[in-house]
Symmetry: C2
Subunit: 345 residues, 2 copies
């Protein structure tokens, strides 16, 4: 008997369904207690599931339609109900699955998730997370692109959601929180940030708020949760990805620049293999749209089987955690927010 | 006879005046035609100038006071006139120097520069530049922190200034321009960006505008000039610095993780030395506050002699270029801007 069922959009991603099923196989070996409700075109997935020895672990749910990777969210929404992505999200809504995973179109997945699962009480805007490798380990950054902006109330909500999420993901009892700014002094930055900083210090919120952090503090792991608006967070995330690729190019050039360098690289291969593993984006694959009544994990569309397994593992961790209850509790402590919404509604 | 005089704030920077004078010595060897007006406490710099054989290349200007690295700009402004930083900037204002260089307090240097040199006609907000290493070579990113925000008019001004600056710095006849956004599709992003994009396409501006770029496009060198607001630009710059340091840590760990790796690293040392040189921030040291009636180059406060020489070299390149005239011409072509300011004034 499975202790947990996860719903899987088998058709989402650049190399779906092959990579998706390969990822499930990897994950299935590690967690014998998890079953999958696999959504997709049954004629395209049944043989693959059987070939990978996953028949006993999967329930196949057929859907005729698939959301294209470049479909606009608005267009995808109009024909949502026939798609594998919608099916995967609805399994969470219906309570059959503890979480859903899709490597499909990000915009469509956010739209489907919001429509199906609805926002949690007290959340005006959901936020997309990223797990960020740091010198200290891993940190959580949010919002990385669900919204274009965030006011101070929304930043406080992001902090509450991010803290509970970091606890589920990193296992730390009391994750620390920082607000991304362009200076660490209290008087610096936009008014929105100053207001949010004031609120995050309120003892009722029960957060371990550590003040402003700057862009370079993300990678050192200065705090466990970096809170920012979706525009800034998305630019930061993609800038970091680009920089890592640039440095990787430099390293490759350095280690192939001469015969001696090539021999040296061969000798250092065990260390370099570990380096490659550390730099592998599949280690940190999986973003979650926080603030909904249910967990949906977005895998990178271009990920490999290992990366997909990481995203499924994240879904399993969240489904098995007290994350939803903790966010609900945190939002209740956010009295200013509740006060405001009572007045405005 | 010197073809160019540069004014130098000898007292600014974490290891001033030693590193500053070392940097001047490096630069002086490369450019025999440049003289320096060196501002500082004469008892702290005269011997150092003589010891480095720079006596014939330097005119010493004594100032009693020094701006502290952590002084607030407002406090620094009140006692500006006795400081070496003010002296260095005023030499540009007075026309004696073609450009000034300081590794001192950034906020104070921006404040002094604006007060002394004043904004160019048509510029509402100056912008701080960064030179960014890319796979293709080097790009210019602005604003990286002179302002907290930018409206569409300001972004257009940044593009005009950045294009002329990139031409002076990279030597490219027609630098390409991109607007930093969180998606490359036209319909994405904030309204400010959409408006700016529309204006940047106007043929009268004469710019080679290539559309939106994302964070990861900066490091590939997708465009020569990346235009953004000061908050986003500063976060992106510092995030990239942090990521580069994180990856460098990983590389060091990989190459010292076993005896074989260490031997390999020793064999690959020539390639790794080139890697280290490529990753060296001193290669791209020097930011310029664009939009003033004169050139002031901000060196990183913690730079080494080589980095300081890079900043001085940037100052010399700009002083010897048609940068100021080109920006003035560009702003004249920006008719919407002129139209608006005529109405509002």
């Amino acid at each position: 008997m499975a202790s947990l069922i996860l719903s899987i959009d088998a058709m989402g991603g650049d190399a779906a369904p092959g990579v998706v099923l390969d990822g499930l196989k990897l994950f299935a070996r590690r967690r014998a207690d998890v079953q999958f409700e696999v959504h997709g075109r049954s004629d395209e997935i049944t043989a693959g599931i059987e070939a990978r020895g996953l028949k006993d672990r999967c329930i196949i749910k057929h859907h005729d339609d698939v959301v294209g990777m470049s479909d606009k969210p608005s267009a995808a929404l109009r024909r949502a109900k026939g798609t594998s992505m919608w099916g995967a999200v609805q399994a969470v809504k219906a309570g059959r699955a503890g979480a859903a995973v899709s490597a499909g179109n990000t915009g469509a997945l956010m739209a489907f998730s919001m429509l199906s699962l609805r926002k949690m009480e007290g959340v005006h805007r959901p936020a997309m997370t990223a797990i960020w490798p740091t010198i200290a380990g891993r940190s959580v950054v949010l919002d990385v692109g669900a919204n274009l902006d965030a006011d101070s109330d929304q930043l406080v909500t992001f902090a509450i959601m991010g803290e509970a999420y970091a606890r589920a993901v990193t296992g730390k009892a009391k994750p620390t929180i920082g607000l991304l700014n362009i200076g660490s002094e209290d008087e610096k930055g936009r008014d929105t940030l100053k207001l949010a900083a004031e609120r995050l210090r309120e003892p009722e919120l029960g957060l371990d708020y550590r003040g402003y952090v700057e862009g370079n503090d993300i990678s050192t792991g200065a705090v466990d949760v970096v809170v920012t608006d979706g525009f800034t967070g998305n630019v930061a995330l993609k800038t970091a990805e680009g920089t890592a690729r640039l440095v990787a190019t430099y390293v490759r050039e350095a280690l192939t620049s001469s015969t001696a360098s090539k021999v040296g690289a061969a000798l250092a291969s065990s260390g370099l293999k570990r380096l490659k593993a550390k730099m592998d984006p599949s280690n940190v694959n999986g973003g979650v749209l926080l603030g909904l009544n249910g967990v949906v994990v977005k895998s990178h569309g271009g990920t490999d089987a290992e990366g997909y397994a990481t995203a499924v593992s994240l879904a399993a961790d969240l489904a098995g955690s007290r994350y939803m209850e903790e966010v609900a509790d945190g939002l209740k402590r956010d009295t200013t927010e509740i006060g405001l919404s009572e007045v405005s509604e």
